[in-house]
Every structure is written in structure tokens, then in C-alpha cells.
């Protein structure tokens, strides 16, 4: 029977990682969230804030203090001596604190995604008594076993402006600390463009701390075209705070954790709520984190983008909006009011510099139309029509109501007569996790095993291999 004969060489399986059932992991780090999961899945299994807690404990003799980092959103509740930090840089969206990054990633990739393993024989106590020299464990084997990701290739995404040093650091962690058999780095806009079925595209990624506009041609990032600006989610939060401060009555930002109980009040009336008392001082960083969560809720449910045509500040538009129904938002303390024109006004700074409310430091951020203009002018003239016909919109903040309509209107006004086509995934998850999903599919392909940087290659060439291979 045919089945019992050995397969000829041409048909023999050549899979290194077992075809499409690779146990590869995909990690996509952003300023607001870090996403990790298994290659081939539709959504990341583990999505945690990139914010983490740092708990200060004084030793009994109170001469030294130690800090313990804790990860995961369920750990972020009020405690004493508890600071909330972030391992990413807010202005760059690249890793700033590598120690914390490694720990948070380990928490996600190993603790959350890997099955529990037995404690290694060196540490489980069974071998402790072997003082007579018998029954000891070959230390080399133990070391190999201790590498937690020895069977999982790892694909990481990175911002297109990530530095060579940071890339080398990432492969070192994957290879040395975790023992990954293979590694790859993909740039986020390339993943997003591929996931939209496009090898060439203008990728507009509206994220938490940054918004970027990048031209991709045949799967390559056009380096000179990369534009980034702070007009993302956090910046929008600042705009909302500014608006709340100047509102009449002024809106008090009291996050949920501070409320003991509340009584319903009429719109515009002062809040009647009893605040919780803590026997310790709540740190400003923890409070800021909680306030940000409240602001996110406001962005998701109230803020809208003026769809155009034209700018919101053009005469007549504000009057039109005022005559339309608004939205009520109730703060955690029960205070509530109707938001009408303000909910368009706060997001207008993304498009119109004159509409931006001043930031705390008085700087103004580059608007999205300006970024697009700068990006395209750094690109060969012949490529521009194709890019405008293939605009890919991704990133969580692009989910603001009306965002795509406005973007389309702005592009048409900037390039009259050109064919402009936006591609924005309809599913919320595909927009939020666009780059992760692209990486997930790529890493799950059986044929991709020949692309990975293998452990052997890494050992022969050192960390510099990542610059040579992942272009």
C-alpha cells in the first residue's frame, strides 16, 4: 500500500515548526496597550496596559527601600506607596525602560500564555539532599530547560522609526533570556498594509500616544516619508481636560475609584457624592492613570469628529451643530451635562491647528493633514496617485465617530481630481489590533519558517543580524 512506503524526498514534509500549527507568539507593544498572543489567531489573547505598578516597600530596619513591579490591569487598584509607570516613551512610542519591558513581556508571553511547567529539578527540592554527590542534575540540561520559550518562535512588531540599538536589544532578550528558537521583527505600518491586502499603501495609524503617516511601497517602508505627531489618544485627552477646565460649570475630574456613593442630580447641578477615604496617600500617577480611563470613556461615547466638508470653525458650522441633539455624559460622581458643540470642538485640533486648545506646555501638534502633506512630498511624484488610492487607516483612536469621513474630505480638498480611497477595517478589533493581526497571520504561515532569523544565525552573527535581515 502506498501509505506504507516512505515518501519520496520531494513529498516528505519539510516543516520545521509543524506547518501551519506553529506555536509562534506575536508581540505588539504600544504606549497605551501591549498585545500578545498566538500566531494564527484573530485577536491577541492577552491585552494589557503598558502601564504597570511599582510598589515601594520599606524594609523593617527602614534603611533601605525596595520596589516591586506588578503587571496586569487587575493589579492596578489604590494602594499605598504605589506608583503607576509606563515602560514606553510617550513621545516616541518605543521602549524606554528595558528592564520593565522585559518583565511585562515575560508576564504576558510566559505567565499568561504558556502552560504551567513543573519546577525544574534544580529548584523543586527533591534534589537538595543529594549531598553525597549522587543524583545530581547535569546543570547544562537544567539551564536549557529553564528557558521558558524554547519552543516558540517570536514575532515582534516595531514602530518604523525604531532604532537599531532597540532592535538588537529585542532580539537579545528573545534569544538569551527566553531561548526562542527563531525571531522576526515587522514594522507596524507594513503589517497593517498587508492585512488590508496592499503591498503599497499610505498608512495612517492613529494610536494612543502618537499618530503616524507612513508610505509603504512593495512592502518596504519609505524611510523619508515617515511622519509622526502627538495628535493621538493621549493628546485628545489633554484637549478634553482643557475643555472641561474652561467649561461652565467647571468639570471636576473625579475617577471612579474615589466614589463611595452618589445621588442622581439634574443636568448641570453640582454633584452629590460621598468620596472614599483612603488611609494612605493616593499617588498622583495612579490618579492620572484612572483619570485617563475616564477620559477614554468620554472619547468613546461622546467625542465626535466634524465630518466636513470644510473646517469646523468655518462660519455657520457651530450654529448647525448647536441646533442638533447632543449627548449626555454622567461623570462618576453623578454630575452630568449635555455636550453639543464641544464634542466636535475638542477633536478639531487634529485637523486644524487653529482649533487646537493650547497644551499644558504651550506647544502645538502637527495636524493630520499636515503630516499627510509632508509624507507625500517626501515621496516620488509617480508613486503619489497609487498611495492616495490606497490609504489604510488603523489604530484605536481612528474609531472616533466621523473620523474617516473627515479624513476623506480633507484628502479630497488637498488633492482635487485624484482618486482617493480609504481602507479602514469595519471590525473594531481589526482596527485596534491591525498590526498584531498582520503579524499573527505572517508568523502562522508554514512557508514563513524559512524567513525567521534562527537561533543558529543569531549565534553565528550576533544581534546585528536583525538589522541585516528585517529590513
Amino acid at each position: 500500500m502506498a501509505g506504507q512506503q516512505p515518501l519520496p524526498n520531494t513529498q516528505a514534509p519539510i516543516d520545521v515548526y509543524g506547518g501551519d500549527e506553529i506555536s509562534a507568539l506575536v508581540l505588539d507593544a504600544g504606549y497605551c496597550h501591549t498585545r500578545a498572543g498566538f500566531a494564527g489567531e484573530d485577536v491577541p489573547k492577552s491585552v494589557l496596559p503598558s502601564f504597570y505598578g511599582s510598589l515601594r516597600t520599606s524594609n523593617t530596619d527602614s534603611t533601605t527601600t525596595t520596589y516591586r513591579d506588578i503587571f496586569g490591569d487587575e493589579c492596578l487598584y489604590p494602594r499605598s506607596d504605589f506608583e503607576v509607570k509606563n515602560y514606553m516613551s510617550e513621545s516616541e512610542s518605543v521602549v524606554e525602560d528595558w528592564d520593565a519591558a522585559t518583565k511585562l513581556w515575560e508576564h504576558m508571553l510566559i505567565k499568561r500564555l504558556q502552560p504551567d511547567r513543573e519546577t525544574s529539578p534544580a529548584k523543586n527540592g527533591l534534589n537538595d539532599a543529594a549531598a553525597d554527590g549522587e543524583g545530581d542534575v547535569a546543570m547544562e540540561d537544567v539551564e536549557n530547560q529553564e528557558k521558558p520559550l524554547a519552543e516558540s518562535p517570536l514575532l515582534m512588531t516595531e514602530a518604523p522609526w525604531n532604532t537599531g540599538k532597540a532592535r538588537e536589544k529585542a532580539i537579545e532578550i528573545a534569544m538569551e533570556n527566553w531561548g526562542c528558537p527563531a525571531f522576526w521583527m515587522s514594522r507596524t505600518p507594513v503589517c497593517a498594509a498587508f492585512a488590508a491586502g496592499k503591498a503599497s499603501a499610505l498608512v495612517i495609524d492613529v494610536g494612543g500616544a502618537n499618530t503616524s503617516v507612513t508610505a509603504i511601497h512593495d512592502g518596504m517602508v519609505l524611510k523619508r516619508s515617515i511622519q509622526k505627531s502627538q495628535v493621538g489618544g493621549i493628546w485628545l485627552s489633554q484637549q478634553i481636560r482643557n475643555m472641561w477646565d474652561n467649561n461652565d460649570p467647571k468639570v471636576n475630574v473625579v475617577p471612579y475609584f474615589m466614589i463611595e456613593n452618589k445621588t442622581a442630580v439634574d443636568a448641570g447641578a453640582p454633584a452629590q457624592a460621598k468620596l472614599r477615604k483612603f488611609p494612605f496617600e493616593v499617588t498622583p500617577s495612579y490618579r492620572a492613570y484612572e483619570e485617563e480611563r475616564l477620559l477614554t470613556e468620554f472619547k468613546e461615547s461622546v467625542v465626535e469628529v466634524w465630518r466636513g466638508p470644510g473646517r469646523y470653525l468655518n462660519p455657520g458650522n457651530e450654529e448647525l451643530v448647536k441646533s442638533q441633539p447632543g449627548r449626555v455624559f454622567e461623570m462618576p460622581d453623578g454630575a452630568n451635562q449635555m455636550w453639543r458643540e464641544q464634542r466636535y470642538r475638542v477633536s478639531e485640533g487634529m485637523w486644524d491647528e487653529n482649533a487646537a486648545l493650547p497644551n499644558a506646555d504651550g506647544t502645538k501638534a502637527q495636524t493630520i493633514p499636515e503630516m499627510i502633506k509632508a509624507c507625500l512630498s517626501a515621496v516620488d511624484v509617480d508613486l503619489r496617485p497609487n498611495l492616495l488610492g490606497n490609504v489604510v487607516v488603523t489604530g484605536g483612536t481612528s474609531l472616533l465617530n466621523g473620523f474617516n469621513d473627515r479624513l476623506n474630505n480633507e484628502l479630497m480638498a488637498m488633492h482635487p481630481g485624484m482618486k482617493i480611497k480609504l481602507h479602514a477595517a469595519g471590525l473594531t478589533t481589526e482596527r485596534r489590533f491591525g498590526a498584531w493581526i498582520g503579524g499573527s497571520i505572517l508568523a502562522s504561515l508554514g512557508t514563513f519558517h524559512q524567513m525567521w532569523i534562527s537561533r543558529k544565525e543569531y549565534e553565528e552573527n550576533g544581534a546585528g543580524i536583525v538589522e541585516k535581515r528585517c529590513k
Partner: protein
């Protein structure tokens, strides 16, 4: 660069040469094999009717992992012929089309986009490349305008 690393079957290259040198075909449609490992020929044809060709791309399907059938991307080369408006005779341009309908699944879109460069590089003699994502992009007039750079009669 992030590439899928899919294989290009030898048939693709020989059929392309038949189209280019022997003028045996008008167009070739390529697809990824069901296991996404290899790019193979779906159809090579001498049919000169653009509409039939267009129809075939629009009707192309892919299988999702769960076995459901949805719209699917394809690659194609088309030996595009047009006559010049200036009356200086006709021209041929071998055009590479990356067809990836927006309503196809994410998985096939990703696989096709990340495998394209490999195929294109093995086909020597492609004059230009089109990226098409909806049926409008492959209307005859639209393509004619791009291929001829507006010089067709």
C-alpha cells in the same frame, strides 16, 4: 522585508515565458495553493475578451481556515495591447495585476500581499504593476488609461 516566503512553482515561470516570448497566452491568473505554500497557475488563456478576464478575477474565491468560501485575491499578468491615439501603431505592455478585493478575508489578503514580491521578481519582463482592490479598479477603461499613460486612442 516581511515576506511570506511562499514558493513559486516552475510552471508559473514557463507559462509566463510562453506568454512573453511565444505569445501563446493573453493572460495568466496565479493563485496560492490551498495550503498557502506555493504560487501556482490557476488559468492560462488566449481569450482576448477583457470582460471575461475581469469576471474571473471578481469571482475568484479563497477558503478560510474553517472551510468557508469567501472572495479571494489573485495575481495576474495580462498582455495588454492598445493603439496609440497619435496613429503610430499599437503597443504591448505586460501588466502585473495584484487583485485583492477589499471584501476578502484578512488572512488571504495578508498572505497574498506578503507573497507578491517573490512572484513579481521571478517574472522578468513585466512592464508595469497595478494594485487593484475593487471591481472599478479593473474596468477596461481605467486600466487602459494607466497602462497607456493616457496615450491610447
Amino acid at each position: 522585508m516581511s515576506q511570506s516566503g511562499a514558493n513559486i512553482s516552475q510552471d508559473c515561470i514557463s507559462a509566463f515565458n510562453d506568454l512573453k516570448l511565444a505569445k501563446k497566452y493573453k493572460y495568466i491568473i496565479f493563485k496560492l495553493s490551498d495550503d498557502n505554500r506555493e504560487i501556482v497557475i490557476e488559468e492560462a488563456s488566449g481569450d482576448k475578451d477583457w470582460e471575461n478576464f475581469r469576471e474571473k478575477l471578481i469571482k475568484a474565491t479563497s477558503k478560510t481556515k474553517s472551510g468557508a468560501v469567501c472572495k479571494g485575491p489573485r495575481y495576474a499578468v495580462y498582455d495588454f495591447e492598445y493603439s496609440l491615439a497619435s496613429g503610430e501603431g499599437s503597443r504591448n505592455k505586460i501588466t502585473f495585476i495584484a487583485w485583492s478585493p477589499d471584501d476578502a478575508g484578512v488572512m488571504p489578503k495578508m498572505v497574498y500581499a506578503s507573497s507578491k514580491e517573490g512572484l513579481k521578481r521571478s517574472l522578468n519582463g513585466v512592464a508595469l504593476e497595478l494594485q487593484a482592490n475593487d471591481p472599478d479598479d479593473i474596468e477596461y477603461d481605467t486600466v487602459l488609461k494607466i497602462v497607456s499613460k493616457g496615450l491610447a486612442g
